[in-house]
């Protein structure tokens, strides 16, 4: 998030898009509810009528995957109506001329049939956003899990830049991270493009720095993504992946195209998994190590607002379970790698991270005791940075990007005439390895179902509670139907949480070319009574 969570109580205009926040980030959503109670206006863009959408002054119930068209048309209206923050644009951005010329062609009337919402609604949303002082954008995977995920994010940046909503209290572009430490895993450099602290692998300066720090020559080019690695599993010749170490991820259930994942991991010569449970993924491994869990582990995690906080062990782990860092260190040491010899505690590991990462340079294990710092914290004594981009952008000027709309990887046709979109539910987390093993949760949600609009159900001859067969170009599953008008006719929804309804058998139609994030939010399907 560019802005701190506390800022969520202060926008004038709230614009959540592709985020089911009351279910996926409920505590953050309480702050928006407070802002609304104080008089803030809210425009929600979402294909489903979520609880957040019900609270909105305007719900843009867009067709799945049409976000770029909507955002182009909003930019068009903002430019046409003279709502561009000229001062901000002149002082802090670049590329505005080309961008403003580009959006001239994309009227709400153009976007309306693509987004399947009335032009007047797009016009209204744009006027409100353009006039908001400030206007704040919130998004989640409904923006990124598309083949045009990067385009979606950059379109949102364009909106924030043209209206001067960056670096201001209550504004900003705010991605809500879905996992407790997914921000932190990126901070730590567990990505193929960056060393710890987002220092790019492709720049020799940083490859040298880490080669020296780790006592071995490290490639000065980025590695391949997990998606590419899974594609290359077992492949003969150069580029083939033959061994993997997976920590705490149930890859075969969470990733798109389940069969592909199972084949990929099954073709490895050596698979080692570290986890709390013998997950579907761990079952494919040659060696499985028992890890310590929440309440058993000392460590650090970073939340969606870049706040660095301490985890503390309250109880001993079961049996011989060990912290992940210890397990990984021990494997390395047995391979003759001496770089882990000095790790004796979580403190040692975290302090090494701080010593190598400029955004953590002012932190160490003791300083984060109270969780008061949001990175970047460039040196000791620095108060941290709750709000990014105040006064200036780190990289100079905010760049407008010229972006065009394109269809999802697969669109509905005669064979697969229904849009499937996927997500989470409040009471279940991911593949339920944890919520599914917690007493009482089943009382609230004991099975997965497919949300179908009553009009569709009537046309398809199916009734509430019946099972249907849902098929995509990759496979089919059986799932129970629940009638609701939450999704519009022609669009159905389910979560990926229940192993009995492995929706990722169906998904995986395409990937964003830049991030290789899968288009999990759009999948044309066919639905048949069983």
């Amino acid at each position: 998030m560019s802005n701190p969570l506390v800022d969520m109580e202060h926008p004038d205009l709230i614009f959540p898009i592709g985020t089911n926040m009351t279910e996926c980030h409920p505590v953050a959503a309480t702050r928006l509810k407070k802002a609304i109670a104080r008089g803030a206006r809210m425009v929600v863009a979402d294909p489903r009528e979520t609880r957040l959408a019900k609270m909105a002054d305007l719900h843009l119930q867009i067709r799945v995957g049409s976000d770029v068209a909507l955002l182009l048309a909003m930019a068009h209206v903002i430019a046409r109506e003279g709502l561009v923050d000229e001062e901000f644009v002149a002082a802090r951005t670049a590329g505005a001329g080309e961008f403003l010329e580009h959006v001239g062609a994309f009227t709400p009337e153009w976007a309306s049939p693509i987004c399947e919402v009335p032009a007047g609604q797009i016009e209204q949303a744009a006027l409100w956003f353009g006039r908001g002082r400030p206007s704040a954008i919130y998004y989640t995977l409904g923006i990124t899990e598309h083949i045009c995920g990067v385009d979606n994010v950059q379109s949102l940046c364009n909106l924030a830049l043209m209206t001067g909503n960056l670096g201001v209290e209550g504004g900003g572009i705010n991605p809500m991270r879905g996992q407790n430490n997914i921000q932190g895993a990126g901070d730590c450099g567990a990505v193929p493009a960056n060393f710890p602290g987002f220092q790019p692998c492709s720049e020799p300066e940083f490859a040298d720095k880490f080669s020296r720090a780790y006592g071995t020559d490290i490639d000065a080019e980025k590695g391949i993504t997990k998606v590419a690695a899974l594609n290359n599993c077992g492949k003969e010749g150069p580029g083939g992946i033959h061994a993997m170490l997976i920590d705490g991820e149930n890859t075969v259930v969470t990733d798109p195209d389940k069969r592909h994942c199972e084949r990929a991991l099954g073709s490895l010569e050596h698979l080692v998994v570290i986890d709390l449970f013998l997950t579907e993924t761990a079952q494919l491994a040659d060696v499985v190590f028992p890890a310590t869990a929440f309440a058993e582990t000392d460590g650090v995690q970073t939340n969606t607002e870049r706040r660095v906080q301490r985890l503390r062990a309250a109880v001993p782990p079961p049996g011989e379970a060990k912290p992940d860092w210890w397990i990984i260190s021990q494997i390395a040491r047995r391979m003759g790698n001496t770089q882990f010899d000095h790790f004796e505690s979580a403190r040692d590991v975290f302090n090494e991270l701080c010593s190598l990462s400029p955004i953590y340079a002012g932190l160490d294990w003791d300083r984060i005791d109270k969780g008061e710092y949001q990175w970047p914290v460039p040196e000791a004594g620095h108060p941290g940075t709750p709000r990014l981009h105040e006064g200036e952008f780190k990289n100079g000027r905010g760049l407008f990007k010229v972006i065009g709309y394109r269809d999802p990887a697969e669109v509905i046709d005669d064979d697969y005439p229904v849009w499937l979109t996927t997500g989470r539910r409040l009471q279940a987390y991911h593949t339920r390895t944890q919520t599914g093993r917690s007493a009482g949760i089943d009382y609230l949600l004991d099975e997965e179902s497919l949300e179908v609009h009553p009009a569709d159900a009537e046309q398809w001859g199916i009734a509430d509670g019946e099972f249907v067969r849902m098929s995509s170009r990759r496979g089919s599953i059986e799932i129970k139907v629940r009638l609701t008008d939450r999704s519009p006719p022609g669009t159905v929804f389910t979560s990926f949480s229940f192993a009995s309804v492995p929706v990722n058998v169906l998904t995986g139609s395409g990937y964003d070319p830049v991030t290789e994030t899968a288009e999990l939010k759009v999948c044309p399907v066919r639905i048949e009574a069983t």
């Binding site: 980030h25 505590v27 309480t30 407070k34 879905g178 996992q179 921000q183 895993a185 990126g186 450099g189 990505v191 060393f195 692998c201 071995t216 490290i218 980025k222 997990k226 690695a229 150069p238 083939g240 033959h242 061994a243 993997m244 170490l245 920590d247 890859t251 969470t254 990733d255 010569e269 050596h270 709390l276 449970f277 060696v287 499985v288 028992p290 869990a293 929440f294 309440a295 650090v300 970073t302 939340n303 607002e305 906080q309 503390r312 062990a313 309250a314 079961p318 011989e320 992940d324 990984i328 021990q330 390395a332 047995r334 975290f350 969780g371 409040l426 944890q434 007493a439 949760i441 609230l444």
Partner: protein, 366 residues
């Protein structure tokens, strides 16, 4: 004089006298807020600092010079030059009588601290003022809802004192408006719409009503399962393991068991709020499915439990063999978005320092 610390520069600073001491305050603060900062320990029951002051319990009354009757300090703004007394004989007697009346309405005053974060508030005040239900014992208000079989929230309204903190936290803090007040006087009853079970209301089971209840009328059913476990309750500050908001929690444990979760009222990301997952979905920690020993797969495809030495050696040998046979770009590491920094840092260091590649990623692409 008690001076203000960290006052924002745009606030108007005033002074008043509390119990004979000159104190500074910001314009707009209530008498209660100023008195709290001066550690006057003014008693309250209907007060939760996160909610709008309500003025219902009247325990926080103080004497203000020039005003005939005692005033509720939680709803009265402090004024320049005001002279306030928080502990005169008259207000203390008034508080004692009020507490006696409140206590007389409840079935039980002995509440397990596992019931909720604020569950000891009434009991503590009764102890401090050395009162019980004595003189006013008789009719009680509120009827416990024993039909609601939800596994999280015990609705023991026999112990309700109509402070409405649950109703207000649900409305003001959560914006859910799942519960409200029905009836008046002895017939006052907290209820969900149409008397429904909470599951059939707007309730999301965030547990905020439980944690703000000062009497245990609303209790944490899951935590109370640990009532009979031996040992003291220990609190450990940590962070919720679910989404990316990073809500600070206090893990409640007895011996080797996690028995419950309290939201951290001073948690910077959540300021006392939690959701159903963070509040109640913690017992995976002690689930019998947890792995307790390293496993190694045999030639027949089945796992057997082995000692750490054997498993670590097998893991290391496998990576070394793949490295030798296929080169350093044949090995890949996937870090967790759920494990702490030390796990992710070690994973990327393992790949980079062992093989000199950047073949590492997280689960952020799916």
């Amino acid at each position: 004089m008690i001076a203000l610390k960290d006052a924002p520069s745009d606030a108007r600073i005033c002074t008043m006298t509390i119990d004979g001491e000159l104190v500074e305050f910001r314009e707009g603060e209530t008498i209660y807020e100023v008195a709290e900062r001066c550690r006057r320990e003014v008693p309250t029951l209907c007060y939760d600092p996160r909610l709008e002051a309500f003025g219902a319990c009247r325990l926080c009354v103080v004497e203000v010079e020039g005003i005939n009757n005692p005033v509720a300090s939680c709803t009265t703004r402090a004024g320049e030059g005001m002279v306030v007394k928080t502990r005169t004989g008259a207000v203390e007697k008034h508080r004692k009588t009020l507490l006696e009346m409140v206590a007389s309405e409840n079935r039980t005053l002995d509440i397990d601290p596992l019931a909720g974060y604020a569950s000891q508030e009434l009991g503590d005040l009764l102890e401090r003022y050395e009162v019980g239900p004595g003189r006013f014992r008789g009719r009680r208000s509120g009827t416990s809802n024993t039909d609601d079989k939800n596994p999280f929230i015990l609705r023991d309204y026999d112990n309700c004192i109509s402070c409405y903190r649950c109703v207000r936290v649900c409305a003001e803090q959560e914006g859910d408006h799942a519960i409200n007040v029905m009836g008046r006087g002895f017939d006052t009853q907290i209820t969900a719409e149409f008397g429904n079970d909470l599951r059939d209301s707007q309730c999301t089971f965030c547990g905020q009503c439980v944690q703000t209840c000062p009497t245990g009328a609303l209790s944490d059913k899951k935590a109370l399962r640990g009532s009979d476990l031996p040992g003291e309750i220990e609190k450990t500050r940590s962070v919720c393991p679910y989404c990316g908001v990073g809500c600070a929690v206090d893990i409640l444990s007895k011996g080797d068991r996690v028995v419950g979760i309290h939201p951290a009222m001073d948690g910077p990301a959540n300021e006392g709020a939690l959701c159903v997952k963070g509040q109640y979905a913690f017992d995976f920690v002690h689930h019998p499915d947890r792995l307790t020993k390293p496993l190694v797969k045999g030639a027949d495809g089945s796992f057997r439990e082995v000692e750490w030495d054997e498993a670590l050696q097998r893991a290391a040998d496998g990576f070394r063999a793949a490295h030798e046979k296929h080169g350093r770009h044949a090995i890949y590491g996937i870090a967790s978005g759920r494990a702490p920094h030390e796990a992710a840092y070690s994973m990327q260091k393992f790949i980079r320092s062992s093989f000199g590649t950047n073949y590492v990623d997280t689960c952020s692409r799916s």
